[in-house]
């Protein structure tokens, strides 16, 4: 039969990377222009270091102390990653329970949403108290609570926003709840879940750093940034902030990569490159 295939075979992985690199070019240009402007303007107007150090000074400060700062960053990142894992795990678990038992969901969800409005970061001094200033778990706890909500809410939405026909189809096969979850609800939720996980990846780094602002071991990045500002070593403080951002961005990127690999079936993976 003469069929109407609209789409060609999906492009190979190599081409995807190539296409994506091209997509990044404008962003990379903006990045370097912004750094250049920053450098030029701070030099031109002779801006005081405590207000805004020059990028070159920040880079120098990082370079002079790169080993130490890197170790601090890794320490803090481990806290963030631990919190991310814990918070996401319980977020997904909670979403599964609420999606399975709707009554429970309608009873608990309002509280979950209300709890989302709590400025969780304000609890940092309290978790420091609970688990001990020097115990990394005190920072993981803050990061975990921060990660919990976006993962839970997004996953829940993915589990429940299933086309009613899909559910009827599964019913027509006499499939039970478990099979419907496995074959329909969970795969359907994956793109939503990853949206939550990407938000959580960034939040976890913020949670860990803020937790450290309220006290922690001296080999933690947040403590180091705080100490540097108190010692008027602003370029080094900025270098610490830049490193924290870099960890956050890389973490986000790693989650996005896992998303691409596990939900490559999603129509959005086709991308729109104006072809």
């Amino acid at each position: 039969m003469t069929s109407t295939v609209v789409e060609p075979i999906p492009p190979g992985f190599g081409r995807e990377i190539g296409g994506r690199l091209r997509d990044w070019v404008p962003a990379i240009i903006v990045f370097f222009v912004a750094i250049g402007l920053w450098q030029g303007l701070t030099t031109l107007f002779d801006v005081e270091t405590f207000l805004l150090p020059k990028p070159s000074d920040i880079a120098q400060a990082f370079w002079d102390d790169k080993g130490t700062l890197w170790d601090y960053g890794v320490y803090t990142f481990k806290e963030a990653a631990g919190g991310f894992a814990l918070g996401s795990f319980f977020g997904i678990l909670m979403a599964l329970v609420l999606a399975r038992f709707r009554v429970l969901g309608s009873a608990l969800l309002p509280f979950a949403i209300a709890a989302n409005a709590i400025p969780i970061i304000a609890f940092a001094p309290i978790t420091n108290n609970w688990f001990g200033l020097l115990n990394p778990f005190s920072k993981m706890a803050i990061a975990a609570v921060l990660c919990f909500f976006p993962v839970m809410v997004n996953t829940l939405r993915g589990l429940t926003s299933v086309d009613v026909r899909s559910i009827e189809l599964m019913r027509s096969y006499g499939a039970g709840e478990l099979a419907t979850f496995r074959s329909v609800r969970i795969p359907n939720s994956l793109p939503f879940m990853f949206t939550g996980l990407k938000v959580a990846a960034v939040l976890s780094m913020i949670g860990a750093i803020v937790g450290e602002y309220f006290g922690g071991p001296t080999n933690a990045l947040g403590v180091s940034i705080l100490n540097d500002t108190q010692l008027f070593n602003f370029p080094r403080a900025w270098a610490g902030i830049a490193l924290a951002s870099a960890f956050g961005i890389v973490f986000y990127g790693a989650v996005a990569l896992v998303e691409r690999l596990t939900t490559s079936w999603h129509p959005s993976s086709r991308g729109f490159r104006g072809e």
């Binding site: 109407t4 295939v5 189809l169 006499g174 795969p187």
Partner: protein, 266 residues
């Protein structure tokens, strides 16, 4: 024994709307029965009652001599909706094998059956395509292959070609007749289209709305195999006219009155 046997069936929704009243309908093996009627006549609801996706308010539905519930649990029917309802996270062949996986067939047996089904709907070569890479007509053929994959005695089709363009629809009508012939199945088919109902069916059940009732049953005595030429036979036109008049009679001249909210559109 009839494949479908419905007696004194009534369905009211919680809103108080009576979707269906006093439905009696028998479908014999190898029949192709179309349900046709205006929006709100409950034809989709009737299909769902046969499939035990909706429970009746009163009356009985028996499928293959069992309760509709038992028939559903026993995989006695396959269903095709207006949308193909394919899962993007599965390839074409894994979409077709979904019911087989749920039935616990082993991999080799599934693979053989999927190949057989894709050949039946003429989609061999698209095994590893994703649903969104196919045209609407091809997606609907995958959906038909999936519904037939486990050899159900009965195929329920809810306006399966309603969203397709006229040319694709006519081609798929022809293919469906071929599949019906080969698979030796029984089909209950919901449609809005009079020519489609006449072209496909052994019998057309004309329904009227508010409450949904069967107003007339018209035997379609056109010989099989039917083909594109069937559309041009005088008898075809006579039957189309007969169905159209039955529909108008069922409407009771109320055609221009404002339509109440359709009970069969969810």
């Amino acid at each position: 024994m009839n494949v479908v046997s419905i007696e004194g069936l009534t369905k009211s929704f919680r809103t108080g709307v009576t979707a269906l009243a006093d439905i009696d309908l028998d479908v014999a093996p190898r029949e192709f029965v179309s349900l046709i009627g205006p929006s709100g006549c409950g034809k989709s609801t009737l299909l769902r009652l046969i499939g035990d996706l909706v429970t009746p308010t009163s009356g009985t539905v028996r499928v293959n001599g069992k309760t509709a519930h038992q028939a559903r649990v026993d995989h006695d029917y396959g269903i095709v909706f207006q949308d193909a309802v394919l899962f993007d996270w599965r390839t074409v062949s894994r979409n077709v094998s979904l019911p087989l996986e749920l039935l616990g067939w082993d991999r080799a047996r599934r693979k053989a059956r999927v190949a057989e089904m894709l050949e039946l709907v003429e989609l061999t070569g698209f095994e590893s395509s994703r649903p969104w890479q196919l045209s609407g007509g091809m997606q609907q053929r995958v959906s038909i292959a999936r519904a037939l994959s486990f050899d159900p005695a009965l195929l329920l089709m809810d306006e399966p070609f309603g969203a397709l363009d006229e040319m694709t629809r006519e081609r798929l009508n022809l293919e469906l007749l071929g599949i019906w012939e080969k698979a030796q199945s029984t089909i209950v088919f919901v449609t809005h289209s009079i020519p489609e109902a006449v072209f496909l069916s052994t019998r057309v059940v004309v329904m009227s709305a508010r409450p949904g009732r069967i107003s007339e049953t018209i035997e379609i005595d056109l010989p099989y195999p039917r083909n594109a030429m069937t559309h041009e036979e005088p008898r075809f036109f006579e039957l189309v006219t007969a169905v159209r008049e039955a529909l108008a009679a069922g409407h009771g001249g109320r055609a221009f009155r404002d339509a109440a909210p359709a009970a069969d559109e969810r």
